[in-house]
Symmetry: C2
Subunit: 145 residues, 2 copies
Amino acid sequence: MDYYFKAAVEEAKKGLKEGGIPIGSVLVHKNKIIGKGHNQRIQKASAILHAEMSALENAGRQPASVYKESTLYTTLSPCPMCSGAVLLYGILHVVIGENKTFMGEEALLASRGVQIEVLQDETCVSLMKDFIKNNPSLWNEDIGV
Amino acid sequence: MDYYFKAAVEEAKKGLKEGGIPIGSVLVHKNKIIGKGHNQRIQKASAILHAEMSALENAGRQPASVYKESTLYTTLSPCPMCSGAVLLYGILHVVIGENKTFMGEEALLASRGVQIEVLQDETCVSLMKDFIKNNPSLWNEDIGV
């Protein structure tokens, strides 16, 4: 497994251990992880700290040039909010663990020129399938359903 | 001036007094402000706490039904990230102070059925014009330019 993608999966697992929604993300700039995070809805009672948002926040304030040279890794297809953050900062490359359990705004991202790679990683699929099965209402809350 | 919109403008002014970017927002559910906030890029070194995101975070975890009955007031046209958050949570009504100094993803929101009202409020325009004139690099950082 790719080193950076593996770091995103580790974040997802960390979230699960904390009792949270198992989605993880890392932001990589020039072969270095500059931000990492996982979904914090439950842990921080947060409506905005999805995994990708946590990774962006963890990276801190960056100039536009850094985002444009960065790749965002996420274990799950990014929702409209996280996809919007990708567009805001002009991130041009997004690596996605899977889109079988949730399909985010991949079409919108692609239409704006973002290069998308979907791995359909079985570990990511299992993490989400199990979580959704055991916590359907929490999951629905996270995606505004 | 509308009571709720005025509350969003007050948030923008509060942000400016703190040395921040003067953009404010409130989330209103059934005639009650359930969340309010302002841009926190400078104050909290945050890459994700735009005004609308701050208001959503301040509102805390809410069921989907609440968002769908809510109106988001913001002093400035919402960027892709904040517009994405509107889409994620199915907020159907957005009142915007102005879109003269920055045009966000209003067309995307409208294409997804969000009702948009743009007030072109002169106070909001002045707040942003002055801020951008005095802090062009900070403003560019906030919109990923």
